[in-house]
Symmetry: C2
Subunit: 245 residues, 2 copies
Amino acid sequence: VTQETQPQAKRKSRRGPAAAPNLNRDVIIASALELIDEAGLETFSLRTLAQKLGVYPTAVYWYVPNRNELLALIVTHILAKVQVDRRRRAWQQSLRDLFQNFRSAVGAHPNAAPLIGTALVSNTEMSFDFVEHLLSILSRAGLAGPKLVAAYNSVVAALVGFVAQEFASMPKEDSAAWQMSVQQRLLNIDPETYPILAGNLRLLSNKAFILRWQNGTEAPLADSYEIFVDIIIGGIAAIGGTADG
Amino acid sequence: VTQETQPQAKRKSRRGPAAAPNLNRDVIIASALELIDEAGLETFSLRTLAQKLGVYPTAVYWYVPNRNELLALIVTHILAKVQVDRRRRAWQQSLRDLFQNFRSAVGAHPNAAPLIGTALVSNTEMSFDFVEHLLSILSRAGLAGPKLVAAYNSVVAALVGFVAQEFASMPKEDSAAWQMSVQQRLLNIDPETYPILAGNLRLLSNKAFILRWQNGTEAPLADSYEIFVDIIIGGIAAIGGTADG
DNA sequence: ACCTGAACACCGTTCAAGT
DNA sequence: ACCTGAACACCGTTCAAGT
């Protein structure tokens, strides 16, 4: 039953034996990301990737140590699009741009969003350019010492937290029945026990975490994100000034 | 070769045939969480869970529709510990408590932290108590309309973003070689190209995202978290006041 | 150096069958 | 109602072998 998984036959039938695979890391990463973009993370496997590449599954192991490392490489690839522009402007504007760039980069590959939250955290491949850029912004905000560290962690947490959740795939996004049930539960809320929720139901429905049935691809949270950035900037400004931690 | 996976024999040999499994949702969730706490998410499977329960893997399906739903139930179980206290105090203090409670709840099961980021987002099982509680805090902060929605999203993003990352497991936490390599890379940083990073290396090493080699279990980010909460509170106060969105 | 090919030890999930 | 038991269609990863 291994006949179906013989990629060589496919490749030869298409291009003839002269068409060497010419595999390499970039091709693997690009193909993997295409698969994830098209079909999502759940269906992604090294075997479907190999099939797309016209290669045996084990061939990938020549360029990538294992599946997890491949996923980390994909995250690096996605976040490489987060430009670090060195124009000297107000730190608020620089931070605003960073937030927008980050959201754009992740939003370009929403199906890969769940990877950001876990893989960025300790990405050795991640260039220090990002780190230095963020630190310089916060320094310009008047932060130093422990407050600088805390603000750095805060911004990273904020970036990842919002965007990863915004584009996180809903459990059964395709199921109309599930979407209906979420909406039904919201409509049946008791205004006595949940007055504020009931009073703002129209504003919150499908526009707030936990209370939505579509993710950022179909129902973007751009407005909330801008205010989110305002909150972070305002908060940093509030703790700034005295730089003694 | 299915002899090894016959749990009935084990059960009988221990307790005799009278010892019925008495399976139910709570037992399954508790056992699953124990396995995750002990061995991590990577090794967790419905088959190891069934083995622990002394039951065939398929028996679990009587109580849980599938693996993903089980993981969602586990998240709900963990976050149920986030107490909603209805004492009327300054909104700042209520928000501070919420952040601390959330971090404690997730920190009690760090290996399950990656689940929080993706599963909370659309958890239908999640009680509306949490939502109403957060909305009431933000109302007391003077927010209404679109700003209320945005602040709600911001707090959820902040809660999940920081804590999920703080407790996210490092790629090869057990590997001393990997830890050394991270530290080496940091020590070899060029102070010319990365002046701020180099100048704050001692403060940042193992205490900042991307620049650490241990997660929150071994190297908690409690100090950063407190300042993070200050930033969020300060930012909400800054956008508050005028409640017209 | 780079890829094939077979094999190992797993998975989640289904379905029919038992009790 | 609740669980067994077998089976299906997958996985990631290893290792030896080819070229």
